[in-house]
C-alpha cells in the first residue's frame, strides 16, 4: 500500500510529503522505514488525512500522514 508521509527532517522524516510503499502500513512501520530514533517515537503525534490520529492506527491506501513532535509554549 502507498501512503504519503512528512515530518521533522531532524528525526529522519521527509520535510515534504513523500510517497512510500509498505506491506501493512502502520505508523510504527512508517517510523521503521525512516529509521526514526526509538527515543523520540513515543513523543510523536500523528495527523492522518488532516484529522488527529493515534500511533496504534492502521493506515489505508492513499493516507496522508504527518508525524510531529507537539509544541507547547510561548
Amino acid at each position: 500500500m502507498k501512503v504519503t508521509v512528512r515530518g521533522e527532517s531532524e528525526f529522519g522524516l521527509p520535510k515534504d510529503f513523500e510517497e512510500v510503499e509498505l506491506q501493512n502500513p502502520t505508523i510504527e512501520s512508517i517510523m521503521d522505514y525512516f529509521h526514526v530514533d526509538p527515543k523520540i517515537r513515543k513523543h510523536l503525534f500523528p495527523i492522518v488525512n488532516s484529522r488527529m490520529g493515534k500511533l496504534s492506527q492502521e493506515l489505508q491506501e492513499g493516507d496522508k500522514v504527518i508525524l510531529q513532535s507537539p509544541y507547547s509554549g510561548g
Binding site: 531532524e10 528525526f11 495527523i47 500511533l55 504527518i66 510531529q68 513532535s69 507537539p70 507547547s72
Partner: protein
Amino acid sequence: MYGAWGKLLRVDLTTGKITTEEIPEILFKRYLGGNTLALYYLLREQKGGIDPLSPEANLIFMTSFVTGTPGPGLSRMSIVGKSPLSGGYGETEAGGWWGPELKFAGYEGIILTGKSEKPVYLSIKDGAAEIKSAEHLWGEKLKEAHDAIKDELEDSKTRIALIGEAGEKMSSYACIINELKHANGRLGMGAVMGSKNLKAIAVRGTTQKLPMYNEERVKEIVKDLIREWKEIPNTFPKYGTMRGVRATQEVGVFPTYNFQHGVFDDFENLAETTYMETILKKTGTCYRCPISCKREVEIDDGKYKVDPAYGGSEYETTMAFGSCCGVNDLKPVSAAHQLCQQSGMDTISAGVTIAWVMECFENGLISKDQLDGLEMNFGNSDNMLILLEKMCKSEGVGAILTKGFKTAIAHFGEETAEYAIQVKNSAFPAHDPRGKAGLALAYALPSAGPDHMEVQHDHVMATEGGAALYEAIGINEPLPATDLSPRKVRNFFVNQSLYNGFNAIGICDFCVRPNGPFTISSIGEYMQAVTGWESASLWNLIKIGEKHSTMSRIFNLREGLTVKDDTLPERMFTPLEGGGPCAGFYIDKETFNKAIRTYYAINLWDEDGVPTETCLYQNELDWLIGEF
C-alpha cells in the same frame, strides 16, 4: 542556609528609605520562592481594594534558592502585584540574566512601595542599594535608557529591568523588560512600576558566590542531565519557539483572524524555516541554558529597520501580529515586536487587541473615523503598525485600546464584546483551546488570567512519551487532546501545581523534558543537593504549587473577582471555522462548566470557587481564615 541568602530588599519610593530584611528559612520551606513567596508577602501586606496604580500598591520581584545555581534554566524571576488590567492577581515571569544577577548582588527579592516624586531608578550592587535620578531617562526608548544606565554605572555586566513609554504612561499592557529581550509581559506590571515613577532596577553582583550544600553533587546532576538530554533528538534548540507556527498549524489550533480559524493559509511565510532563511541573525540564551532558544533578528530593507539588540519575535508574538491579524510577512511582525520592546508593551495583549479591532472594523462595528482615520482590515500590516505605535504612545485611539478590552468595549459599544477573545480582561495567548481542551481550563481558571504556560499542553500529554514524562507526579496515561473529562481535570490540577511550583523556584519550563535537560524527578534531587533540605522535594514543590492556586484565588476574591470570571469567550463554545484537523471543534458548555466545578472540588473549594477552611488547613494557610 544554602542556595539562599535569606535577604529581602524593601524600598519605599515615597520616603526613599531602603532596608534589608531577613527571609526566614521557614518561609522558603513553606513557599519556596518566586511567585508563591512573593504572593505570601503581597497577601500579608496589601489590603484588598487598593488602586494598583497608587502608592499603596506593592510591586514585588522574587527569585528562589536555586536561582543562579548551575542547573539549566534556573534564570527566571517572578513579578507580582495587583494587575491594573484585570483588577486581580498579577503575576508574570521572565528569564534572561536579571534574576541570577539579583542573587549575586545579595538578595532573593525586592518589595517596592510608595511613589517617588520624580522619576528614578534603583541600583543594587554587591548588597548596597541606591536610588538615582532617572529624569533624563524618562521618555527614552528602552535601548537608549538601558545603555545610558550601564554607562552611568560604569559596569557593562550590570543587568537592567526597565519600563518604556507604555509603563511611564501606565498603559494596562505595559511590561517590564530585562536586557532588552526578556519580558515580564502580561497583566500590566510595567504600569505599576511606572505609577511609582520607577524607570529601572539595575543589579550587579561582582563577588558573591552562591553557597551550595553539596556543590559536587549539584555539578554531577547537571552533567548527567545534559549528557542524557543530548542523546535524544530535539528540534527546539534549532528553531526555538518558532517551531510552534508549523506545529500548531498542523494540528489546526493556530489562531487566525482573531481566533476565527485554526489554520492560516500563508503560515509558511511565518514558519521557522522562513524565519531562519530571511531574518534570523543569531540565537541567544538565558543564564546557564544549553538550549539557546532566543532569536535575534535584523532587517534593514528600506521599509523596515529592526535592531537585533531587541531580540526577535517568539511564537506568541508571531501569532499575535501575524496570523491573528491576517498578516503573512515576518518583516512587519518583527517591526511590531520591536515597537513593543522599545516602549515596553506586551505583544500578546497588543496584537490580539488589534485583531479584535480588525474583526470589528470588517463587521462595521467600528468605523474608520473612530480609529483616527485608519482602515483596519485583516492583513493591513502598515495600518497595524500605525495603530500599534499609537497604543505604545497612548495617543489617540491607542490610549483607549491599551486600557484593555473592558474599556475599549465600553467606548466602541457592547456589540463589539462578542469578538473580544479574553478572560479577566487579558487577551488569549497563541493556542486555540477548542483543539486543546486542557488549555480551556488554563485560560479560564488561573487567577492571573489566561496562561499558555500554566500546564503542559494537551498534544504532548496525548502521546505515550509525553504522558510518561509526568509519571513522577502521578500522570499514568495519555489522554486525547480534546478530552475534558474529570480525569483530564484531575491531570490538569496536578500539572498546574507542578508548573506553579516551577514558577516558585524560577525554572524555565523549556528546560524540563520534553524540550530541556531536567526530568521531573531530578528537580527534587537537584533542590536537595543545593539546599540540604528534606523539604526541597518534588512532593513539596507540587504541594506548594497547589497552595499557590488557593492563595491567588483568595487574592482575587478579596478584589471582587468571582466564579463568573472563570469562563471563556462565547466563540470558544462555537465551532472552529476554516480548515485543519480541529475544524468544527468546540468546547461543550455543559462539559466545561462541569470541569470547572470538578476543579473547584479537587482544590477543596466550594461550588463558587471559594476555598473552604479544610482547604486552608490542608495547605497550611490557616492564617488566611477570615481574611476574605
